[in-house]
Amino acid sequence: MAKAIKAKINGILLRVPEGTTILDAAKQVQIKIPTLCKHPDLVASASCGICIVKVKGSNKMLRACCTPLEEGMEIITHDPEIVEIRRTVIELILSNHPNDCLKCGRNNACELQKLTADFGIKTESFPQTLRDLPIDTSTKAVDLDPKKCILCGRCVHVCQDIQDVWALSFLERGMHTRISPAGDIQLADSPCVKCGQCSAHCPTGAFVEQDHTARAWQVLQDPEKYCVVQIAPAVRASIGEAFGYTGKNFTRKLYALLRRLGFQAVFDTNFAADVTIMEEASEFEERLLKGTKPLPLITTCCPSWVDFMEKFHTDMIDHFSSCKSPHEILGVLSKTYYAQKNKIDPAKIVMVSIMPCTSKKYEVSRSDEMFASGFQDIDIVLCTRELARMIKQAGIDFESLPDEESDSILGEYSGAGVIFGATGGVMEAALRTAHYFITGKDLKKVDLESVRGLKGVKETEVDVGGKKVRVAVAHGLANVEYVLNKVRRAKKEGKEAPYHFIEVMACPGGCIGGGGQPYMVTDELRAKRAQALYEDDAAKEIRFSHQNPYIKRLYDEFLEKPLSEKSHKLLHTTYKARPTYRK
């Protein structure tokens, strides 16, 4: 336990554990000190200076975000002078920030815009000096407009420290400092894995998802097209945030909503998650029992993780599950299985997917295998934030919509399918089915608590028919290194692999913390979103992918069995080394 210290904030005596910042301590006395560069996920960079406070007996002002409260301190968090200084700081930031608010991707959701409004700034106090820096749209997933960057450093921290990707850095210094991949190249030529955590953490419009809503509206009005849609697990737990709800599952309202937006069939990515489990658990069974390929098996649902591995950890390619992500599986099944059963020309089907993810925009054309149906299996990817905008554009009263069901035959899912959206979920779902495949019996205790939660690396053992299966779950790409290095060390020393099965999700928290999710996510919010998915799972009558009757039907009618020739052709993919820098 940290020592408690006593101090005063605005004359009110309080006790906090030693090391508590003034910013956090002030919350105890009902003060939310304004901040801009500080994000709850990140270590304070103290770059903006909005959060300054006074301390009695000193002329120096302190930054509340990075200064720990000390014994006996007397802090003043607001007075006319402090407010005036904060206003000046904002005015100075505005002096090199374009006044593009009305046409900006962050309009109404921008932290700088909000502060400007809160401080009632109505005039330009300093002449504007804007930098002439080009917009980078090269990734087709996240756009970078460096002119709008306020140099808070959040994206750099996320990209370098949380994700260990190092696509972004500040170049030059002083007045000339700017955000860029190393050496004025495009993001697509850099190590960028398109996770979009930069866009989820950026306070302004410097990083914004590439908006594809106009494309979606266009196909929806085309009478020649047959528009179908899928929603990812994590979206149902976060879309409510656009309407003031947190941690609430909106699955059935989303089905209703998507029909009213004009989609002719509404599918659920969770169904394809069940398919992924059938394939991946079979792969695991093969590797474990027959030793066809090396263990540990590593999951591949996350396209940013796949991209990261293809750039940084190519020695692990043999360990990768060849199974595609649920997203892609649903795409290919809609243009093959569903099209054949319903006698629809697959050329007319347009598959739109609603994802918590910016990287899915990249995944759809990642390799030739993403065209397994003979067409691009997924046509348009919208992230949660884009869907929220479409709902508002359509004027649909989302909260009041009736509950509806998804469309057969790609809609019904098991409890195992929905937890894919949270870190550890894929592992849990896969182990439920792998246990059955290997032992012929279902797990008595369905919930695998030890792989749940927000700890960066989770390691545990699961009993599968008397054999201890060792698993690891990592999320946030910086946590991967630890797990992979353990595998490498064992290989080098000729020892047994430390794990049999590894799950990796690029984003902290898994897809529920995805780069395309609503802004200002904290661990508290991630936990709430995950909880909504686990509740959905717990409430399901069927909690094992292999028990989903529609999955059985899919294999009976179409795929024959997991890892069949047809499965391999449609549901599996390959990996190759890609250069970290293409320039």
């Binding site: 500040f170 991949p181 190393a182 050496g183 820098y581 320039k583």
Partner: protein, 159 residues
């Protein structure tokens, strides 16, 4: 390909020399800058994989310090002093004239690679203001009309 091999052995020697020392990145960059007159991207990439330092970090360092350059220097380096004395004695006019004649911006190299234009702070001979220095040779009390003649001597040298 040939060139790449040369780079690899060059970098390897430097990395071996500095590997275990603190602040090795900046020392290696110094050696590369001194040898090539700039830090070629291919070398930075090689260095990145050998030191296991992300390229982004290397570029943070290179672009932070004025000393490091990312493009080859011009054959002749023109430094125009903008210290207080030179400034008052008309340095801005001199810079403007050089830019006009050579079609080059400050801190850049002409397209033919012959001249690099830098604006510097005091060169230490304020009595001669305004001062222009080309390849270490100092020209004092420079008049705008003389610029063309001065540059011409270097152009002739190239021909």
């Amino acid at each position: 390909m040939e060139e790449k091999k040369v780079f690899t052995s060059e970098i390897k020697n430097l990395v071996d020399k500095w590997k275990d020392k603190e602040g090795n990145l900046i020392m290696i960059l110094h050696e590369i800058q001194n040898h090539h007159g700039y830090v070629p991207r291919e070398l930075a990439l090689e260095l990145s994989s050998m030191l296991e330092v992300p390229l982004a970090r290397i570029y943070e360092v290179i672009t932070f310090y004025n000393f490091f350059k990312l493009s080859p220097p011009g054959k002749h380096r023109i430094s125009v002093c903008m210290g207080t004395a030179c400034y008052l004695k008309g340095a801005p006019e001199i810079i403007k004239e050089i830019k006009n004649i050579l079609h080059v911006e400050e801190g850049r190299t002409t397209q033919d690679g012959n001249f690099h234009l830098d604006v510097v702070r005091c060169l230490g001979c304020c009595g001669l203001a305004p001062v222009v220095m080309i390849d270490g040779k100092v020209y004092g009390k420079v008049k705008k009309q003389e610029i063309m003649d001065i540059i011409s001597t270097y152009v002739k040298e190239e021909e």
